[in-house]
């Protein structure tokens, strides 16, 4: 079987590429080593949180900062993608999110500050509609911890928020009285809170904590699939506002996005083979002819006209760091890297040079040789954390780059017929 577009990787970049390609009616398959890291992510899509990267003040208008970045950093993935394509991907994602029953909202002109599990405030651009709540301007905030949940300490988060917002923030513990006999993570609790009796127990405990007219910050455990129902029930019954805070993995907010997105793509006719890395490629004449997974000592070949490479960076295992080199795992593409890879100060505010390592591309997102700029494979389009020349951790741009580059890669792969430029 011949596919129009073969997407390698099942994270946000891969899904975004599959979305774009399927929108133009193409036959698409997603092949990936496993389920992407989207499952353990926050579910927020940050486009540009800090720019210039040395700035300690969060970007308030990411659209404007992006325009500046595109002019100043011509190698940055955003410069390769272009402002117009960034906006297109943004709109396409919002539309798709509504159709998949997980409506997202936000604007490229505004970053919202969202609290993390330790009470840091992170600038983000796209978030679930249920999270459209402003921590900075809320009159009264209560941070709620759930006794049964591991790894969330309300007093700790509250104290950090107090320092940043300059006002008193209350924290409370609630005990749901679940005697399960083991530690519960956020996914477990989210399953539990879909049950009406447990949900009522939470509502009762929150009532005792006096949350009326307040903004309740609570770890994101309010239902795996029926969170909209759970959140609005709490808000209506207690006359309060509820904002979920993304937790440590398994992150329910990441799960909701990953699972809904995948189901949505399936309904659009996108095929998936997940659980096996692409470990065979055949390329001739600067074109990829076929790829394959190796299952049971045998190659299963997957053929397509065009390919999107979205296998991630170092964490996603798209890039592998060896003592003397960094390798791109599927096509063995050359890696652009700086001489010094790691600075001793791990939390250096300017970031680690290693973060900039990756595959260099041209404006068509085709992989190029870092020295000569010559296109290496004309029908391969690279997206997401595999890309070189940016630091997603310091800029807070990881998911934004993934979404926008994935979308552009998908559009170009669907169009096809490319030679060099």
């Amino acid at each position: 079987m011949m596919y129009d577009v073969v997407v390698i990787g099942a994270g946000l970049a891969g899904f975004s590429a599959a979305l774009a390609a399927s929108e133009s009616g193409k036959k698409v398959i997603v092949v990936a080593q496993g389920m992407g890291n989207l499952y353990s992510a926050s579910g927020y899509i940050d486009f540009l949180g800090y720019y210039p990267t040395t700035s300690s003040k969060p970007v308030l208008n990411p659209g404007k900062a992006l325009e500046q970045l595109i002019v100043e950093k011509t190698d940055h993935p955003y410069a390769r993608i272009g402002k117009e394509n960034i906006s297109r991907s943004f709109a396409a994602f919002i539309k798709a999110s509504r159709e998949m029953g997980l409506p997202y909202t936000g604007s490229l002109e505004t970053n919202l500050l969202m609290p993390t599990a330790v009470g840091a405030l992170v600038p983000t651009t796209l978030y679930p509609q249920s999270a459209e709540k402003d921590v900075v301007f809320s009159r009264e905030i209560v941070v709620v911890g759930i006794k049964e949940l591991v790894d969330f300490y309300p007093a700790y988060a509250a104290e950090n928020l107090e320092r940043q917002l300059g006002r008193k923030i209350r924290s409370v513990w609630v005990d749901l009285g679940l005697n399960v006999g083991r530690e519960l993570n956020s996914y477990d609790l989210a399953l539990t809170l879909e049950k009406p009796d447990i949900r009522n127990r939470l509502i009762l405990k929150l009532k005792e904590a006096d949350v009326q007219n307040k903004l309740v910050l609570i770890p994101a455990v309010l239902g795996v699939n029926r969170w909209q129902e759970v959140i609005s029930e709490i808000e209506e019954k207690l006359q309060c506002q509820v904002l979920e805070i993304p937790t440590l993995p398994p992150s329910v907010m990441g799960y909701r996005l990953a699972q809904s997105f995948k189901l949505y793509l399936k309904k659009k006719g996108v095929e998936f083979i997940i659980g096996f890395p692409v470990s065979y490629v055949k390329c001739t004449d600067r074109r990829c002819e076929e790829v394959g997974i190796i299952a049971n000592e045998r190659v299963k070949k997957i053929k397509g006209y065009n390919y999107c490479l979205a296998t991630g960076g170092i964490l996603g295992e798209g890039l592998k760091v060896l003592p003397d080199e960094i390798k791109e795992q599927v096509f063995n593409l050359p890696i652009k890297k700086s001489k010094e890879q790691l600075l001793n100060d791990f939390f250096n505010s300017e970031g680690q040079p290693l973060s900039h390592a990756g595959v260099m591309v041209n404006d068509n997102l085709q992989p190029v040789n870092p020295q000569t700029q010559a296109v290496i494979l004309t029908n391969v389009f690279v997206a997401g954390a595999t890309l070189a020349s940016y630091d997603p951790f310091v800029e807070k741009s990881g998911n934004g780059v993934a979404l926008a580059s994935g979308y552009k890669a998908g559009v170009l792969a669907a169009k096809g017929g490319f030679s060099d430029e």
Binding site: M1, Q33, G34, M35, G36, N37, Y39, S40, L178, V180, G181, R182, L184, N185, Y187, D188, L191, T192, P249, P250, Y255, L263, K266, E271, F272, I273, I274, G275, F276, P277, I293, A295, N296, E297, R298, K300, G316, E317
Partner: protein, 395 residues
């Protein structure tokens, strides 16, 4: 155990993606899940010299071995490998052990039961039989009917040779699958022989009888390798048998033999896809059907070759769904204490099937079929049985 599998452990970042994909976790909160039972506890077990099982290891009895955790892992760890290994070390209650032993040897009951099917089927409905099964911990649910049918095979010698391995379900409960597979293989130009091997060992593996399963695997491997040497390809139509021969055997008997074996194991529709042979004509398509992807097919990494064929040839509107586990997991759903859980796991699948208002469900796995029919009342068929009707009439 091969060293490769132990090294695999270190790739676990504890991201818990497997935990969110476990059908048991989603329906039974006390179950610690694949991450904890697998790589997390295995580190401790190894640190303690791997002798006595931990108390928490009892929970391994609730692992269905569906392998959804294995393919979920973003980093290539296979929690089910550790679960199987450690389940075999459990002592357990003697009555459940006896029941598990009975269920693990379904091949014997199949052999005996299919001799005089009418008597067996009557006997299975008999109240005293149900009562005594209940006493040893077998769930009070419908058992598959036993059936015996002579398979007609062409004697003609051909260059392409297939050894068809039907597995227990097709052999004793639905021999139509065997005839359909033989007819399809013959239409593809194969000389077909039926494999003289017995059970693949999956029920033993799932019930913790790893040592016995290993011996069986060794015996079967030798039989298969003889045929492979003569140029036969081994063809399966049961997803679980296929996965056992491809993957489980490689874990139990790591080495050159099992590698040579797994290279020659093919799902019937996988080989049709690989060879690009389509001996079908697409007349009079069925309007609508639902294809349930068995977990053990998903774990083979071959995509959905049967569904793709069905879509191209036999079904106008085919819903292909791999999001759900049916919950039966071979013998799991036949155990009294797990029956309700098994039905709860299958719940979302049953609901999806009912909501799609299909008159027909198609799936490759025999026990998935039993569970889906039990949970929905909709007829379920094997893809080979459907596609056989579309073979080109030649000669």
């Amino acid at each position: 155990m091969s060293k490769g599998d132990e090294r695999n452990l270190d790739h676990c970042l504890k991201c818990s993606t497997c935990h969110t994909q476990c059908p048991v976790v989603a329906n039974y909160l006390a179950f610690p899940g694949p991450k904890q039972l697998g790589p997390e506890l295995e580190r401790l077990r190894l640190a303690r010299g791997g002798k006595a099982p931990f108390e928490i290891d009892e929970a391994l009895n609730y692992c269905t071995n569906c392998k959804r955790c294995d393919i979920a892992c973003p980093h290539g760890v296979k929690p089910s490998y550790y679960n199987i290994k450690n389940k075999a070390k459990l002592k357990g209650k003697s009555l459940n052990k006896f029941r598990d032993w009975i269920l693990a040897h379904n091949v014997w009951w199949g052999k005996i039961g299919s001799q005089i099917p009418s008597l067996t089927n009557f006997g299975l409905k008999f109240p005293l039989t149900r009562l005594s099964m209940g006493l040893v911990g077998v769930a009070n649910r419908h058992f598959p009917k036993y059936e015996k049918k002579k398979v007609i095979i062409s004697k003609e010698k051909k260059e392409k040779k297939a050894l068809y391995y039907a597995g227990c379900y097709a052999s004793y409960n639905e021999p139509q699958i065997i005839q359909a597979a033989v007819n399809i293989l013959e239409a593809c130009g194969y000389q077909v022989e039926l494999a003289p091997a017995a059970c693949c060992g999956t029920p033993m593996v799932s019930n913790g009888l790893l040592e016995e399963a290993g011996k069986l695997a060794e015996k079967n491997t030798d039989i298969f390798l003889k045929y492979i040497q003569q140029g036969f390809k081994i063809i399966t139509t049961c997803s679980s048998c296929g996965l056992a021969l491809k993957e489980e055997y490689a874990h139990m008997l790591p080495g050159e033999k099992s590698n040579r074996l797994r290279k020659n194991i093919w799902d019937l529709f996988e080989i049709l896809d690989e060879e690009g042979i389509l001996p079908f004509s697409s007349s009079q398509k069925i309007a609508k059907a639902y294809y349930h992807v068995p977990c053990h097919l998903k774990a083979q990494g071959i995509g959905v070759p049967a569904a793709n064929l069905l879509k191209a040839i036999a079904i106008k509107e085919l819903i292909i769904e791999d999001s759900y586990c049916c919950g039966i997991s071979g013998t799991y759903g036949f155990k009294k204490e797990k029956y309700a859980l098994s039905m709860a796991i299958g719940g979302p699948l049953f609901q999806d099937i009912k909501e799609s208002q299909v008159p027909l469900v198609i799936t490759d796995c025999g026990t998935c079929k039993l569970q889906i029919e039990h949970g929905t009342g909709v007829t379920v068929n094997h893809p080979a049985v459907i596609l056989e009707n579309y073979l080109k009439k030649t000669q």
